[in-house]
Amino acid sequence: MTAGLVADIAVRRGGFALELQFALAPGATVAVLGPNGAGKSTLVEALAGLVPLARGEVVLAGRTLERPAARVRLSPQERGLGVMFQGYCLFGHLSARDNVAYGPRARGVARARARAEAQAWLERLGVGEVGDLRPAALSGGQAQRVALARAMICRPALLLLDEPLAALDVSARAQARRLLAGWLAEAAAICVIVSHDVRDAIALADELLVVEAGRLTARGTADELRARPPTDYVAAVLGEG
């Protein structure tokens, strides 16, 4: 039994199959790279408990989150997660601030305190001025930062970020990277960051996982992978960074 994350994942979705295993040490941050449709978002959803495993298991800090063979499956609520979705999934009827405050509120924090904390997060990410706007009135980059704040505010044990910086402009991206890096260094959380931008991946993660067509095809630091790229995709993507 390890203190980190053990993921042995087999998921079917329509015609697509995801099958991979990996283990992460406590406090580790990995970036998941891979071509479109490789299964990165599916991996995030499987870890979050939103798509059921066909086989395998997910164990976090010694606690079994899911193991179909033993008919164990914790609900997303019980997993202690923070998830940022690729499509954001903001609540359309709530203001940006109340979107961010949603997690704390669900965990019993009083409304005023939750809102104040949410506003602080928005400001840290450079979008303090959109607190009162509904998601429909947010620009793409503003919405992405609201979604990022919503995932991080609860200090989860497992943080899953799906393309957290893809819509951000230069300065917002630098700011968000700094914030994320600082938070990860300080928190004991395990963090899985999906990104197709290899520079973001290298800046944020200790290690890279490469997923192609539903399989783990490479794992290592950027330098290791650049030195011996196991697939064409790895060579191409690291050539960019």
Partner: protein
């Protein structure tokens, strides 16, 4: 060809014409009623104590029925749309049936279930000392029986159309299922929820046949406005129409308040 803002194109015209025809179709009968009745008659009815009693009772019964429909109907709609369980198709069909049943037969069915000689009547009477028929409670049950399906079906339809990813996002944020329903699901389908509630309440307010059959017609206890209207029809048709106009005015006010509350500026 240039279009000025708001000037309708061909499609707008077709839609507008049909919509206008619909409005005329709904308006004409009401105008027909209005021109038939002298305002003095409406005033006379409105100030009659018996009418005020019936109006109060109608509001009490229909609002209680709407509340009961929410209490039982929302969980049912949610279960039908989101929780797979055996017999779900049957349960859904069952809920639509009270809408099809002629209300008088609905009342007969309620008697068969909750009447003194009904399935539950014996246990109710001897176990709890409750005799339902001819009580205000019976009027509420009758109204709930015929009106709740409108809420259930409307809300279930809206739930089926709702993107389940919002609920998933809320679950990852640690919200319990009840919290998700209250803070994500219901707000997201609010327009349909309001529509369903309006339909349900309106149906409860207009309910007649099941009530008179199951609850009887007793002033101050089960004689709601529609029953009073029917009684008036025998003797004073104009009085009956005046009563109906009062009922319409009250429901207009309440519906406007409901919509005003839920759709500011709508």
């Amino acid at each position: 060809m240039s279009l000025k803002p708001g000037r309708p194109g061909h499609a707008n015209l077709a839609i507008g014409l049909l919509a206008g025809a619909a409005v005329v179709f709904f308006a004409l009968p009401l105008v027909g009623l209005l021109v038939r009745v002298a305002p003095a008659e409406v005033w006379r009815q409105l100030t009659a104590p018996a009418v005020q009693t019936a109006l109060r009772l109608s509001l009490t019964v229909s609002l209680t029925a709407a509340g009961l429909s929410l209490l039982l109907g929302l969980p049912l709609a949610y279960a039908l749309a989101r929780l797979p369980f055996p017999g779900r198709g049957l349960a859904r069909a069952l809920v639509t049936l009270p809408m099809v049943l002629p209300p008088v037969v609905g009342g007969t069915a309620l008697l068969a279930a909750f009447g003194r000689r009904g399935l539950l009547g014996g246990p109710l009477e001897h176990g709890l000392g409750v005799i339902l028929p001819y009580t205000t409670g019976a009027a509420v049950l009758a109204a709930t029986f015929v009106a709740a399906p409108f809420l259930v079906i409307t809300v279930e339809g809206a739930l089926r159309g709702l993107d389940p990813r919002l609920e998933q996002a809320a679950a990852t944020l640690g919200a319990s299922r009840l919290r998700i329903v209250a803070t994500v699901v219901l707000p997201a389908i609010r327009p349909s929820l309001v529509a369903g509630l309006a339909l349900c309440w309106a149906r409860a307010l207009g309910e007649f046949g099941a009530t008179i059959t199951f609850a009887g017609n007793l002033q101050g206890r089960t004689q709601t406005m529609p029953l009073a209207v029917y009684e008036a029809l025998h003797t004073s048709p104009d009085g009956a129409v005046a009563l109906s106009l009062i009922l319409l005015a009250v429901s207009l006010a309440l519906l406007a308040a409901l919509r005003g509350h839920f759709f500011k500026g709508g």
